[in-house]
Symmetry: C2
Subunit: 137 residues, 2 copies
DNA sequence: TGGATTACATAAGCACGTGATATGACTTCC
DNA sequence: GGAAGTCATATCACGTGCTTATGTAATCCA
């Protein structure tokens, strides 16, 4: 399948876009989820984000240290931790999105109008593919 | 730009495909380059792979330890190191490609024929995009 | 020949991931 | 209602992969 190499190359390219001074993909993805769906328990975060529970604990520890998220207690369950995004967290997500958009836009501008159109046409299908990649059926 | 979120989601999805017991993207990419272009000096590897020289030194050290690559000396330059891929390295690349292909194929099968067609049509444009992402003009 | 440059290695440190295990809180069941 | 089990989270030990700063040779050149 030729598509495999294409996705690998895309993966490598996207890794390179990652602006060194912005938050990571996993950090942004988790904060965006908290922004979108409100405070979540740790155990409700690690699975959708596709990482182990210890990995999520550690990520939240880093986010908390950097003031991007907070740990709160769940009144209904003493074991649980309610994670929430802070204003600084929301700002960090927006900043990353902006930096990322700039990197993509720079590459995009160098494509032909036709190439751009083809890619934009494929966006819904690519989104579906991403979702399917996420769920190991 | 909607495309930014799409690429982020794709990036996250591709990260999740990565089979736990196969070599990493950077290892595979470097070994594939050695396979494609023959033995290379360390300094000729780190830049195209988009990592620092120490990162490449460390990668080659791990690859050498695992028997996937070898360090040889350059008769013409006593400072240089000639890195070559071994048969085991070639096998590891092939194995990873296979595992990766399987993951992609599984997702692909769940797409509609139309979605598949749209994505395949976009492959050349996506390759161009990947290449442009790689070069920070 | 001796100082600058080049190629690579080393060191210290951080992000991110894993599996195994500890700890404390809820639940269940006799 | 208390022992036993389960659940949520944390901690530990470890590995990869990345960075910047710096060390150490070998080569180049004025």
């Amino acid at each position: 399948m030729n598509i495999v190499s294409t996705l690998d190359r895309l993966h490598a390219g996207l890794r390179r876009i990652a602006p060194r001074h912005e938050i990571s993909l996993i950090a942004a993805s988790t904060l965006a989820r908290l922004e979108r769906s409100g405070p979540q328990r740790l155990s409700d975060l690690h699975d959708p984000e596709g990482v182990s529970q210890p990995a999520m604990t550690q990520l939240i520890t880093r986010l908390e240290r950097d003031g991007l998220a907070t740990r709160g207690s769940d009144p209904a369950d003493g074991r649980a931790v309610r994670v929430a995004v802070t204003d600084a967290g929301r700002a960090a997500v927006a900043r990353r999105r902006g930096a990322h958009a700039e990197g993509v836009a720079r590459a995009f501008r160098q494509l032909s109008a036709e190439e751009r159109a083809i890619i934009l046409t494929a966006v819904p299908a690519l989104d579906r593919l991403s979702e399917l990649l996420r769920t190991p059926d």
